[in-house]
């Protein structure tokens, strides 16, 4: 599996684009880097509540670091999952809880995705990951 980009990569890349089309094309392209979960892995108990599209999240812990596998049936949500996982993947619970996702999305100029509670449900995903971290 190719290594997913870091938050710094993403911030730099998105700053480079001028219009919405380039920015969302980039997010769509990012979605292609996110591994697809198999039908067996897409179980109902892994569905994140509060998303208009289906989002599945699997959490594992290895030596104090949390590892996430996530997938969605919507491409833009998959791309946004890459942005989120850039911040959270293989980090400690403490690091995850300390990360300011709102500020990060504001810097990406994508804050509508994180502030709108319904719609693509990114806030639910971030909430679910933070909940997993607080219980780890």
């Amino acid at each position: 599996m190719a290594k997913l980009p870091s938050t710094t990569d993403i911030i730099d890349d998105l700053a480079f684009f001028d219009d919405w089309e380039e920015r969302y094309q980039y997010i769509i392209d990012l979605s292609k880097q996110l591994p697809v979960l198999s039908d067996e892995e897409r179980t109902d108990d892994r569905l994140v509540k509060g998303c208009q599209s289906s989002v599945w999240l699997i959490t594992g812990i290895d030596q104090g670091k949390l590892h996430f596998s996530a997938d969605s049936d919507a491409i833009i949500v998959r791309g946004l999952l890459v942005l989120v996982l850039a911040a959270y993947q293989d980090k400690s619970a403490q690091e995850i809880l300390a990360f300011d996702m709102d500020a990060y999305f504001k810097e990406l100029d994508l804050e509508r995705h994180i502030t709108v509670t319904r719609g693509n449900g990114l806030r639910s995903i971030v909430g679910k990951i933070r909940q997993e971290a607080s219980q780890a």
């Binding site: 969302y24 769509i28 491409i75 833009i76």
Partner: protein, 406 residues
């Protein structure tokens, strides 16, 4: 009277605005319609000229507020051709109107009584009756639709028995646009059983001539905000002799006649079913919207909407990779669809970036989506102020979305 869509659009201030830096193309009218300036003015006028509580003030402002509030009720009466103003009950919207009916129904139904609905219901016209059945032991029966989203009228008829006490169906489907033959359906119910008939008019009121006497139903419910009025106000129309025996549901001020510490007696219709201070501004706003709507050339509006829908459905059927969901012969204002290889949510998002507002998802009709074998759809819903140019722009935006997403 001639119809010019640009003259009409000029009366809706929001239609001249931009979203995401693009001119707004508003195609989510089944969710809510935009508002004409005359309706907005009526709201402002109420708050700036005669804000007061209704029906009980011993002063001029209250008299004026009451006059405007009750005039709005008369406007609704005229719109739907009701016979008595006592039959027009203000509610928060269609959902509350249905809950008012369900609440009373659950007290009237007995075990093994039957309620009939259709497969195309909005959750509001399904879950309410599920609850009434749960409370009373009655049985909920669901009449089938065919794959194009039309009611199977034979199946509907077969559902009607001597045990049927209540039948509810939508004037038009919010998810598909299917227009139901409500007059014929009501006649069918009345000739087969002793049952009350409720028409969920949420999607009918802005697109059809609603004549409750001609339909022959017992209840007709709709929301003001889908008829160019404000949110938070709606109407339950009920036949007087039915409403007069309907159990009270919410209690409090406005709806009582006499109160002692241990018992109370109820007031007269319509107030008996309108507990508490009503949505005065909302009712006045809706009255203004209804007056405005009745002043338009509604035959021309209908023709314009039909032409737009026909045009959109034609372009949709020619659009490579598009599957139309809901292709009933009789439809109002809705084109529901899927595009191969794309999620409706992604389509909606990329359209929004281009200034085009649609709705995506299950449209509060999960059983219908399941029946049609889809998880959800993208839905374009049209209104009187939409234009051919907007439909063209929709398909240009869809082509762009398709290119980006596949």
């Amino acid at each position: 009277m001639s119809f010019d869509v640009q003259t009409l659009r000029a009366q809706f201030p929001i239609l001249g605005t931009q979203v995401n830096g693009k001119p707004l193309i508003y195609l989510d009218n089944a969710a809510t319609t935009q508002k004409p300036q005359v309706m907005i003015d009526a709201l402002v006028a109420f708050y700036t000229q005669c804000n007061a509580n209704v029906h009980r003030g011993a002063h001029a402002l209250s008299d004026e507020a009451t006059r405007r509030f009750e005039n709005a009720r008369n406007s609704v009466l005229t719109l739907i051709n009701a016979t008595r103003r006592e039959e027009v009950i203000w509610t928060k919207g269609t959902t509350e109107a249905l809950n008012l009916v369900a609440n009373g129904l659950s007290k009237k139904l007995k075990k093994n009584d039957e309620i009939v609905v259709t497969e195309m219901e909005h959750h509001a016209n399904l879950v309410t009756w599920q609850q009434a059945c749960e409370a009373s032991g009655a049985l909920l029966k669901v009449a089938r639709i065919n794959d194009s989203g039309e009611l199977d009228i034979d199946d509907f008829q077969s559902m009607l028995t001597e045990r049927t006490r209540f039948v509810a169906f939508p004037h038009a489907s919010n998810a598909l646009g299917t227009l139901n033959p409500v007059t014929a359906m009501t006649a069918m119910v009345k000739s087969h059983c002793d049952a009350l008939v409720l028409v969920d008019g949420a999607q009918g009121i802005a697109h059809c001539d609603v004549d409750v006497q001609a339909i022959g139903c017992d209840f007709y419910a709709f929301s003001g905000h889908k008829l160019f009025g404000p949110t938070g106000i709606g109407v339950l129309w009920g036949r007087y002799d039915v409403l007069d025996t309907w159990p009270v549901w919410q209690t409090g001020g406005e709806m009582i006649s006499t109160v002692e510490y241990q018992q109370s007696t109820w007031g007269e219709l319509p107030y008996r079913l309108e507990a508490g201070t009503p949505n005065i501004a909302g009712a006045i706003g809706l009255g203004a919207a209804v007056d405005w709507f009745m002043q338009q050339d509604r035959i021309a509006l209908r023709q314009h909407e039909d032409e737009l829908l026909k045009y959109a459905m034609e372009l949709g059927s020619e659009f490579s990779g598009m599957t139309l969901v809901g292709t009933a012969r009789e439809k109002v204002g809705v084109m529901s669809f899927l595009v191969d290889g794309t999620h409706p949510g992604d389509l909606g998002f990329i359209l929004d970036q281009q200034g085009v507002a649609i709705r995506t998802g299950d449209h509060c009709a999960q059983p219908l989506m399941k029946r049609l074998g889809v998880g959800g759809t993208a839905r374009v819903s049209l209104s009187i102020y939409n234009t051919v140019d907007e439909v063209d722009a929709l398909f240009v935006a869809l082509k762009k979305a398709q290119q980006m997403l596949t």
